[in-house]
């Protein structure tokens, strides 16, 4: 069969063929990109290079940095026990998110489903904590966690039980991190649920119905049909969750300041402490670079391992 020719006349009319048009197009491209590029280079890219420079100095932030120390900051960070605790806490928050928070969000999304009466109501409520500011969430949970049963609701509920004792939620080094994680989950589960709801919506209902017709029960339907089809949504959600967990700051800083005795320190609070509390800006810069490298490495490796999370292919 003869191939149908692609309407060549119209193709010729496309822009970008004449040289004056090409010049005009290039000008447009330059002018349109310029604002974004300038802002991005000044406030995102340039700071990366600058912090690389300052990380090589012992610098208190006054006057020019002169006290060159080479890679000492980077080495000192790695041997600092508190940094390792922060790193471990990051891994802990990631693990807890993947094991508890995301499955919870997914389960709720499935429960809300696509046709439950009152679906929008539940979605609106569950997503609300995400919209409230982190300051607000932190202060609310600070109240709930108050160690005194006369003040903190959680302990008040605990002492109601026979033999129940008040727990010093935020001042016990073993409990503080799970407690902070609970607040994080309260704030963020709605976001992931929303992603899963959207993912579920994209699955054609016919596929699930076909499964049912073929005799699959709800569990088989979920594990063999729904879950695999949600693959790309899950990959995105995991990606965002890991990146978010690594940089937890406001909730932790307001609730515990990283304490007690660094038990809830995260990488971000660690950096903030050295940068803005102790004014060891060179050291803080080096921490920032470590964090950046961790995020970057994770993103690249994750992209390799999973066939491109959708969140990144978009750009």
């Amino acid at each position: 069969m003869q191939p149908i020719p692609a309407i060549p006349d119209i193709l010729k009319l496309k822009r970008g063929t004449g040289s004056s048009h090409r010049f005009q197009d290039n000008l447009t491209i330059a002018l349109f990109l310029l604002p974004a590029l300038i802002l991005f280079l000044i406030f995102v890219i340039y700071p990366i290079f600058q912090s690389v420079y300052y990380s090589l100095f012992d610098w208190k932030g006054f006057g020019p940095a002169v006290d060159f120390v080479g890679l000492d900051n980077f080495i000192n960070i790695l041997t600092d026990k508190v940094f390792l605790i922060a790193l471990r806490n990051g891994v802990f928050i990631i693990a807890f998110s993947l094991v508890f928070q995301l499955p919870l969000s997914l389960a709720l999304a499935v429960l809300v489903g696509r046709d439950l009466p009152g679906r929008v109501f539940f979605r609106t409520i569950f997503f609300m904590p995400y919209v409230l500011s982190e300051v607000m969430a932190a202060i609310m949970w600070l109240f709930l966690y108050n160690a005194d049963p006369e003040r903190g609701l959680l302990n008040a509920l605990l002492v109601l039980f026979p033999g129940g004792k008040a727990i010093p939620w935020l001042s016990d080094t073993n409990i503080v991190l799970p407690a902070v994680f609970l607040a994080i989950t309260w704030k963020y589960f709605g976001f992931h649920m929303l992603l899963y709801l959207a993912g579920l919506q994209n699955i054609p209902i016919e596929i699930e119905e076909a499964g049912r017709v073929d005799g699959a029960n709800s569990f088989q339907n979920f594990f063999y049909i729904t879950l695999p089809l949600l693959g790309s949504t899950i990959r995105t959600s995991v990606y965002l969750s890991v990146l978010g967990s690594l940089q937890q700051f406001i909730l932790v800083w307001i609730m515990t300041k990283g304490g007690p005795v660094n038990a809830s320190e995260t990488l971000a609070t660690y950096m903030y402490r050295f940068g803005f509390v102790r004014f060891q800006l060179g050291y803080g810069s080096a921490v920032a670079i470590y964090m950046f490298l961790i995020c970057l490495t994770f993103s690249l490796v994750y992209r390799r391992l999973t066939r491109q999370p959708d969140y990144l292919t978009g750009l």
Partner: protein, 285 residues
Amino acid sequence: MTLPYSRPRWNTKKFVSRFIQYSVLSLIVVIVFVPLVMLIFGALKTRGEFMTRPYVVPIPPRWENIISILSHASFWLMLRNSLVVMVAATAGVLLVCSLAAFVFARMEFRSKPIFINLFTVGLMFPINVAILPVYFVLRQMDMIDKLWGVILVQIAFQLSGNIMILRGFFTAIPAELQDAAYMDGCTVFDFFWRILLPLARPALSAVAALTMIVSWNDLLVPLVVINNEKLWTLPLGTMQFQGQYGQDLAMISAFVALSAVPTIIFYLFAERQIVSGLTAGAVKG
């Protein structure tokens, strides 16, 4: 029953599964609401009442704390600062991102992949990681203690994600439209401004709603950039207020509850836009 086929068949199995569904979901609703309800309870009590009976419903409600905060100029000043930052950041994000997204979605040039990858770096360098390096730059540019500093940083760190969201929407607009416009003598800018942007209005409002929320709730950037009390934004003021009033939990509750009111009202009105923006960014890409 007159229309037997249009009604779902209510058998026991279905009833039980619905019952379980609603029970679990209601439980989560309660958990989500507990912190908020406690906050509102606290906000409507006096300091004394909060100490003696912290968990009971505030009957009658005491408006003293709310009124005393509202009659303070500083609260309104914070509200104003937050509004200024939010409006400017949102306008900036919309303008800058739609221009860039247009180029990435509808124009071809050789170095395009390089620029796209450059902006992808922004996704891996979130503001929580970048804050210290960004602080250096702001200091050099003499933008400390200026709302402009906050606004520009907020815009810069929202570029990557929003360019990506808008690019997705812009790509979806049929190419025939562009060809037709050019044949009719449109310049590229005409097409962008008169045809594409109006068509992309849902996407723009999604991006706007999302940016407004992020900007309004942002604490970290103001915390680092702003010292002057007169320039505090609402979240920064909330944090300082919490530090200052330490033990007066009723007063703090009132302040936090008040500062939540604009967010919740906005959320209830713009939920659709926020949701569609987030899911477009993360799911569709």
